[in-house]
Structure formats: C-alpha cells, structure tokens
C-alpha cells in the first residue's frame, strides 16, 4: 500500500483538454471517490494513474516513486473496470491468478494466493467456472479478487458497480466498503453516482471539466459545497437554484424571501435543497401550484410552480397533495446556500 499523488496533471486529447492542472493526494489506505458527470475527466485521471494514458504535463507519484513515465505493469496498481474485463476463455481461478502467472509466481504459491483472494471476496466456490457462467455480482467479485491477489500499492476502480441492477449495487456497495475496511488498501473509486460517492468514500473529490471542484469528507461536500456546481451535483434530487435579488435589506429568491442578509455582492444565486423546503396547506409561505406528484416509497417528490419559478420539494410519504392544488412553501434561511452569480463560488 502507498499514497497516490497527482501533481499539476494535464491531459489533452488533441483539442480536448480532459484534465487541467489536476492536483490530488490520496492517503495511504484511504478510500477516495472521484465523482463527476460524464466527460468530466474522472476516468482519465484513473487511467493516467494506471499508466494506460500518458500525461501531457505534470507528474504522478505512488509512494515515494515518480511513476509518470513508468510502464503500467511496473506501477504496481490494479484496476477494476466497469465491464470487469474478465478473460472469457479462462476459468475464475485462472482469471484471478492471471497477474501472478504473468509475473512468474510458482503454481503452488499462486494457488494459495488465489484461494485467499477468492475467500476474501466470497467467490471461492466459483473457481472452476468460466466468466459467462457467472452472474453480474459474481463477475464483480472475481474482478475484485483479481485486483486484490497481487496486493498492489493502489487499487483503481472505474465505475465497477454501474453494470449491476439497483438492488445488487446497494449490496455490493456495502461489500466493497467492508472489503476496504478489512484489507485497508489505498483505493481510488470513480463513479458518476453521487450516492455511491457519499456512501463509500472516506473523502470525495468532485470533478468538472477536468478541474477539481472540491475535495473533502462526504458530509463536507454535501453540507458545505465549494461552489454552485458541487451544490447542484451532490444531492438527490438536485438542489433548486433561484436568482437572488436584494430588496430593502432582504433577499428575494424565487418564491422565498430571506431577511437580514447584508453584505452580499450585487448578483447572487440562491440554492435550496428539495429536502429543506417545507410544504403545508396553511397560510404561511409562498403559494405554489402542484404540477406533478412522484411517489418514491418512503418519500414524495413534488414538482411545484411558484410564481415564475419551478421548485422541487422532497417531503414525507404521507404528504400527497392533489395535482393542481395550491400549497404553501417555506425555507429556513439557514438552509439557503448563496453563490456568487458570476463565479459560482459559495458565499459565506
């Protein structure tokens, strides 16, 4: 195990700049999640760490080694792909032990290590099968066992749960977390799923357009987003945004009015998370027309039209107003996030 460090990494694909001055330090034994929308550069970052892509500028360090120009096989990293990349013509045992054999580990020793890795991920009964005889979850386990068996310095995981159905994904997420706790390896996990990011990561790095937007513990990223992008990307359903207007010492944002917010720049944007919008049928708050009611089991999503603004509210499962009816909505000033409308930076 070792730490992984990106120093000013830039990666260009012709005219397209996938990573721009990317700096990141993953601590020894840390589970770091790289999250961002499609095309944000997260997979590129992972592939540069693996050595599958050369960096245009900057350097990558594993432990105290500068591995920028080191061949992938000599970086001592493993990678789990979204498609698992199991060799279809090899058995599970051969797949897990592939790297050991390629490195000349003797058959007996390799067999012991393969069994250990298989037991660790719970696929020891599948050793004689071929990948096409396995379910998605089983293939996932085999891919993890193959990554673990060599005991690499860093594990790189590229959206490994994306191909699983929703139920299995939740289960495997917990398994992965347990696995990390038991082996304590340095893991970098790429995903576009912010729920995965928040639940799995010791820290979360949010990327957009090749630039690191925020790095911090999941709670920080959720509660104290560094900018409008992070605020909008992290959290499900996404945050509501309204252009803010200062009127007589108070801040008007869509249907909401927040008192006592002096010293704000001229143009601000206000964000309110759907779960922070209070909905009732009393007289307090701004009127809003119910346009869509989405039942989601233990909660309800209300799509509301308030004045000229569209508002999404997340309320309890028992709150089910009629479509077309009018409700009242409020938000606590403490739950409102303020962003500079020009730069998108969070205002404190």
């Amino acid at each position: 195990m070792a730490e992984l460090r990106f120093e000013g990494v830039r990666k260009d694909y012709g005219e397209v700049r996938a990573l721009r001055g990317f700096d990141l330090e993953v601590a020894d034994g840390e589970f770091l999640v790289l999250v961002g929308p499609s095309g944000c550069g997260k997979s590129t970052a992972l592939r540069t760490a693996a050595g599958l892509e050369e960096v245009t500028e900057g350097s990558i360090h594993i432990g105290d080694r500068n591995v920028t120009d080191v061949r992938p096989a000599e970086r001592n990293v493993s990678m789990v792909f979204q498609s698992y990349a199991l060799f279809p013509h090899l058995s599970v045992e051969e797949n897990i032990g592939f790297g050991l054999r390629a490195r000349g580990v003797k058959a007996g020793r390799a067999r012991v290590k393969v069994l250990e890795a298989a037991e660790l991920v719970g696929c020891e009964k599948l050793l004689d099968r071929k990948p096409f005889q396995l379910s998605g979850g089983e293939r996932q386990r085999v891919a993890l066992a193959r990554a673990l068996v060599r005991e690499p310095d860093v594990h790189l995981l590229d959206e490994p749960l994306s191909n699983l159905d929703a139920q299995l994904r939740v289960y495997m997420r917990a398994e992965l977390k347990k696995l990390h706790q038991s082996v304590g390896a340095t893991m970098v996990y790429v995903t576009h799923d912010q729920v995965e990011a928040l639940t799995l990561g010791d820290r979360v790095a949010v990327l957009n357009q090749g630039i690191l937007q925020q790095l911090g513990p999941p709670d920080d990223v959720y509660r104290r987003p560094a900018n409008r992008f992070v605020a909008g990307f992290i959290g499900s359903p996404a945050m509501n945004f309204f252009p803010g207007e200062r009127v007589d010492g108070s801040l008007h944002a869509g249907p909401f009015v927040f008192e006592g917010r002096p010293n704000l720049p001229e143009r601000v944007e206000v964000g309110v998370r759907p779960e922070h919008i209070q909905v009732d049928e009393g007289d307090e708050g701004a009127p809003a027309e119910v346009q869509v009611v989405e039942m989601a089991g233990n909660e309800t999503y209300l799509h509301l039209q308030a004045d000229k603004s569209l508002v999404l509210a997340r309320v309890g499962a028992d709150v089910r107003p009629e479509v077309g009816s009018t409700v009242r909505i409020r938000a606590n000033p403490a739950d409102a996030y303020l962003f500079d409308a020009e730069t998108g930076e969070t205002l404190t």
């Binding site: 792909f81 279809p88 013509h89 096409f132």
Partner: protein, 273 residues
C-alpha cells in the same frame, strides 16, 4: 415451434447446391473408363468402376504430389496464421486514424489481381535464384497470403473489449504475450476459418506451381491433375477420380476443424459484455 422446425431448411437447400457438384464428381469418377459424361444427372453409375482410382494413381504419381502439396501447406498455413494475426492485432491496437489508413491500404491491395503480380514476382524470384523451389509458393504467407486474412483478424480483434488488453498490460504482459494469451484464444473460430481458407487456396493453387516448378517430382496436386488430363484428355471418369483424390484431403481437413466453428461458449458475458 413451427418456425423452429423449418429454420434449417434454407441452410440445407444451400448446402445441397454446394454439395451437388461434389456428388457428381464422386459418381462421375465411378463410371466406366472412357465413357463420356452422362447427358442427364446420374445418381449412381452401374456398374461401379473403382478401377479408375487405381489407374489414376498409376498414370501420375499422385501420392508424391499430395506429399508435395502437404509440404507447402504445412509451411504456408501456420506462417499465414502467424503473420496475418500479427498484422491484424497490430492494426487493432492502433488508434483510429492509422488503423483506418491501413485498412484502406489492405482493401486496395485486395483489389490488385494476382495475375498483375505474376511477372514482377517471377522476376524477383528468378533474380534470387528461387525458381523451381517451393519458396515462391510459400513466400506470400510471410505477408499473410492475402490482405483479406489480415482484415479478418483485424475485425475480430477489434471486437474484443480494449479493457481486456489493458488488463493484460497492467498484469505485466507484453504485446506478444497479450497476442498469444489473450487475443488468439478469443478469435479461435476466425483462426480456424483463415486456416481453412488458406489451406484451400494453397492446396488448389495451380498458377504458381505451374510458373515456378519445372521438375516433375516437385509438382503439387493441381499440376498432377493437369498431367492426368494431358495424358488422357477425354477420359473424364479417370480425371474425376484424380479430382476426388485431390479434394479429399481438403474435405477431411474441414470435417476435422468444423467443430471449432461451432463453439458453444457464447453465453451472456462472453467477451466481458
């Protein structure tokens, strides 16, 4: 269920179309020597003249020619598989633009008629002193025998998810080991198909042996058949008996390898998708 019952019918009809000439070759080879070809299709001649085979083998040294052909095939087919798969693998691992250029070049090369190359090839081999040897017959295999075989491999390797090659790279395999341990096992049916095509092409190659081989003891099977027709031009049963003897190894080889075309391990997840 009804549709299942008839689903093999078109394939069976097509097979009949291709098998009929072979059947008539076989039945024709068993007609009385010296008889002209029948005016209507003859399913089975009566009586069966097995002696045509004996006579064909007496007139020309078919066993020797068969051995010569086998010698050429034994070098040409493995060499073709090696070079065509290497070229296809290298092209498949290139980025889109250079790979596209090479595919275009291969297609252009495919359109050049072989006869257009006869004179320059002959001149080269003559200059090298390789006339009347098997080298000119085997040499095309160094270039994959045909660009078509290279393209077949290229398209097959392209179908393999790149993550498999990337995994091999991360696990410490070099390009040659990746080709041998990852790529080739995943395109086995194509390898067999190319082997069969190359076998058939080399086995049936008439023009090159005709140009390059002068000594009769070096002749390959097609030249032996020509010799047979020269000796007794109108004796069709005899000629057909020779043809059966020349075709049999190809058919036997195909029967032996056809199981590789029909590999069953194609469930979900094959190729990791």
């Amino acid at each position: 269920m009804k549709s299942n019952k008839w689903r093999h019918l078109p394939a069976a009809l097509l097979a009949v179309v291709f098998l009929l000439p072979l059947y008539f070759m076989l039945s024709g080879s068993l007609r009385q020597a010296g008889l002209p070809p029948p005016r209507t299709p003859e399913l089975l001649p009566s009586p069966l003249a097995w002696g045509n085979y004996e006579r064909a083998f007496e007139l020309v040294d078919l066993p020797r020619y068969t051995l010569n052909s086998l010698f050429v095939v034994a070098f040409a087919v493995p060499l073709t598989l090696l070079t065509a798969s290497w070229a296809g693998f290298a092209m498949a691992r290139l980025s889109r633009r250079p790979a596209g250029a090479l595919v275009a070049l291969s297609l252009i090369a495919l359109m050049v008629p072989l006869t257009a190359l006869l004179v320059p090839r002959f001149t080269i081999f003559k200059e090298l002193g390789l006339i009347n040897t098997y080298v000119p017959l085997i040499a095309p295999a160094i270039m994959g025998t045909s660009p078509f075989y290279v393209l077949l491999f290229y398209w097959s390797f392209k179908r393999i998810p790149p993550e498999l090659f990337e995994t091999a790279r991360l696990e410490g395999l070099g390009p040659l080991a990746t080709w041998w341990r990852v790529a080739m096992p995943l395109v086995r049916p194509v390898t067999v198909a190319v082997a069969v095509l190359c076998f058939v092409f080399t086995w049936g190659n008439f023009l090159d042996p005709l140009i390059y081989l002068f000594d009769q003891e070096k002749f390959t099977v097609p030249l032996g058949l020509r010799a047979l027709s020269t000796l007794d031009r109108t004796n069709f049963p005899l000629l057909l008996a020779g043809s059966v003897a020349a075709t049999a190894p190809v058919i036997l080889a195909f029967i032996y390898v056809q199981r590789y075309f029909l590999q069953e391990f194609r469930g979900a997840g094959w190729l990791g998708r």
